[in-house]
């Protein structure tokens, strides 16, 4: 795949999925604590979302950051707009703003989540740009 094709694919993912999450790993097997917490917030709200693992090719992350202007992963898009990374998504979730944005009920049983677990650091899974 060329870089242009990757960028087109990313743009198409954003355009075609109302709630689109770019993350490290998958919602079932997140490869990073920040991605895990972001997916967990969406799961707690019970919304349908599409998720793309950016790890398989470093160019996915390069093209995504070029397209969004946002340097880190995860990145959540809703209605084609960048909502933010994990800090913003978790803040909005805890304030009930994410539920409002997505048009769903805030789960009542929700209690503040613990801080992210220390990120596991097997060297092979790191996805550095340099």
């Amino acid at each position: 795949m060329t870089n242009d094709e990757i960028r087109d694919f990313l743009q198409q993912s954003i355009d075609e999925n109302r709630v689109m999450l770019f993350m490290k790993g998958t919602p079932n097997q997140p490869a990073c604590g920040f991605s895990a917490r972001t997916a967990a917030a969406l799961n707690a709200l019970g919304v349908q979302y599409a998720a793309l693992d950016i790890l398989p090719d470093p160019r996915i992350r390069e093209e995504l950051s070029a397209l969004s202007g946002w340097p880190t992963i995860p990145q959540l898009f809703v209605d084609k707009e960048l909502v933010g990374g994990s800090d913003i998504v978790i803040e909005m979730f805890e304030a009930g703003e994410l539920a409002e944005l997505l048009g769903v009920e805030q789960p009542e049983e929700f209690a503040a989540e613990p801080q992210p677990e220390p990120v596991k650091r097997p060297i092979g899974l790191e996805n550095r740009l340099d």
Binding site: W70, P71, G84, P118, R121, R128, L129
Partner: protein, 79 residues
């Protein structure tokens, strides 16, 4: 390897008057948490606030600074 103090000083230099605290989350010198209180954030969306901080470090984010967790607020704001 960047230190929390270095990150703190660079953010303070970019956002004069800001109250900044930076922690090294893992002790490894590449996963950081920054809390910043600045009146520069007034009227900006969360995305814009965080971008102001990311912009201090440019391409170092994702490189030497593997992860930078950010919490922004304005003076006097609760939460």
């Amino acid at each position: 390897m960047p230190t929390p103090t270095e990150l703190q000083e660079r953010i303070e230099a970019a956002l004069p008057g800001a109250e900044v605290s930076v922690d090294d989350l893992t002790g490894g010198g590449d996963h950081f948490r920054a809390e910043i209180v600045s009146d520069r954030f007034q009227g900006l969306s969360r995305i814009q606030q965080h971008k102001l901080v990311y912009d201090v470090f440019g391409a170092e984010i994702g490189g030497p600074i593997h992860a930078l967790s950010i919490k922004t607020s304005t003076p006097g704001a609760t939460q």
